[in-house]
Amino acid sequence: MSQILAIAQNTVRETVRDRVLYSLLFFAGLVVVASLVMQEITIGDQDKVVRSVAQSAISLFASLMAMFLGVGLVYKELERKTIYTIASKPLKRWRFLVGKYLGLMVVLALEVALMAALYTVVIGLQQGPPGVPELMNWIGLMAELALLTAWALLFSCYSTPLTASFFTLATFVIGHLADDIWRFGQQAEAENLRQLSEVVYWALPNFSVFDFSSQAVHKLDIAVADLAMALGYGLAYSTAVLAVAAVIFERRDFR
């Protein structure tokens, strides 16, 4: 375990000392603050629009960070050849992978916490402190990021960042459309199409499971069971994806 923690700590340190992180964080903060402007140009329930824009900004930028940092996680080690001195230590390769993953998850958790703090200050001054639904939405977001990062890590184990970015983005988009794919498939007349939609639905992640933003924006109660199910789904699915990544990484030659 101490080896995994050492790798995770180094990953946190490496990411935190990377300027790219701060650029993304800056833009995320900018959008959260800018969401206040929406109040001036919106008719209807202005508070809800502001909350919606700010929550979406947090979710979008956190997902971008997970994808952007996740695809480079392993590739950078291979490209910079730092893997030579790491993999030649008495360290099982899966531990390295898990350490990198956990390190990035810590960074993402810090990011979400920072953005949530900014949300609390900016939105809270006008509308009061965020409620339980908003907190639960952020917890759901973390589960989504855990799964997205696992996919990014899997792709980065065998492809370049560009290809891995493309695959991760595709997974992200399809994962958010999973429910729609299911619904469209069920309405299809061709049996083959229905079966295909089912295969796609079950094989690819369903990111809408983690999405409680609608309840958070409308300040509606979120069932604890729903959140627990989302967390369980995220944990199980992420573990499975990481296991596949570990098998691929184990078989790799470092040239």
Partner: protein, 315 residues
């Protein structure tokens, strides 16, 4: 306890390159024994398979077939590397770390306690003469400094076997001397040192035994004497003879009326006769013993004839 620090049997590595996965053999059935406590050199031309061998032994690449062990443990087990220190060729490290942070991080991978990490890092930073730069990010280090930091990380856990890929490459004379000193210290402590190098003078100076690899095939293994034997590289003849006298071999220089002539061993009689025929006299005849380089060139020559005259070798 195994008597061998490294044992390889029939180690083979085939790469599949390009879109059509064309096979390329990097290592062909390598058998190698490195005894505990010896300093072992691994030499060969570029592309001979030295780095491939080291990467396979260190678990960075998978052998296509064959077996190997490090200190008696199957090299595929991560436990095999517990008592092994490794310095890769042109070491690359985390640029965001200082040398002190870097050594602390790597020491944690060996499971060392906080107190041991601090003590050992301090000792090694001083030993490799990096203590003044210990808290400077490694991105500002020169190549020589990185090499020294790399050596420090390889020695962190006081390993029984030290494996190094081209440790002297790119170092200035002081850096090379420092690495040599450390290798001697390790040998004196009874540790095994296995390293590849292109700097054959260092290999001859340091190594107890040497293995020569050409095109992925082991061409020789033994002490320098066993490999080179009593072969003569060339013979230098000093003679007083007319400047325009026809002589075989290479005229090296004229000094104080004495001509320095360098000839191949089988041309000595002809050269001596030519000196006498030109009315000259012999001042001195010296045999230059062959070096490891001659053995290596001969082995490479078996596959691809080399114009040795261009290399300054007449044997």
């Amino acid at each position: 306890m195994s008597e061998l620090a490294i044992a390889a049997r029939g180690l083979r590595k085939v790469y599949l390159s390009g879109f059509f996965r064309i096979p390329y053999t990097g290592l062909e059935g390598l058998d190698l024994d490195v005894r505990r406590g010896e300093v072992f050199g691994f030499i060969g031309p570029n592309g001979a398979g030295k780095t491939t061998t080291i990467k396979v032994l260190m678990g960075l690449q998978h052998a296509t077939s064959g077996e190997a062990s490090l200190l008696g443990v199957d090299h595929r087990e991560s436990a095999a590397r517990e008592r092994v220190g490794f310095l890769p060729e042109r070491p690359y490290f985390y640029q965001h770390l200082t040398a002190r942070e870097f050594l602390d991080f790597y020491a944690r991978l060996y499971g060392m306690s906080a107190a041991d990490r601090k003590r050992r890092s301090g000792e090694l930073l001083e030993r490799v003469q990096l203590e003044r730069f210990a808290d400077v990010p490694m991105k500002s280090y020169s190549k020589g400094m990185l090499q020294r930091a790399g050596l420090a990380q390889a020695l962190l856990h006081d390993p029984d076997l030290l494996v190094m890929d081209e440790p002297m490459s790119g170092l200035d004379p002081m850096g090379r001397a420092l690495i040599r000193d450390i290798l001697f210290e390790e040998r004196d402590k009874g540790k095994t040192v296995f390293f590849s190098s292109h700097i054959l003078a260092d290999v001859e100076l340091i190594c107890d035994r040497v293995a020569v690899l050409v095109k992925g095939v082991l061409r020789g293994c033994g002490t320098i004497d066993e490999l080179v034997g009593d072969r003569v590289r060339h013979v230098d003849i000093a003679a007083r003879v007319a400047e325009d006298a026809p002589l075989p071999g290479l005229r090296m220089r004229e000094e104080g009326g004495v001509t320095q002539l360098r000839v191949a061993p089988d041309q000595v009689d002809r050269a001596l006769a030519a000196v006498h025929a030109a009315g000259g006299s012999i001042v001195d005849v010296t045999r230059a013993r062959a070096h490891l380089e001659d053995f290596l060139l001969d082995e490479v020559d078996r596959d691809r004839p080399i114009d040795k005259k261009k290399l300054g070798v007449l044997a």
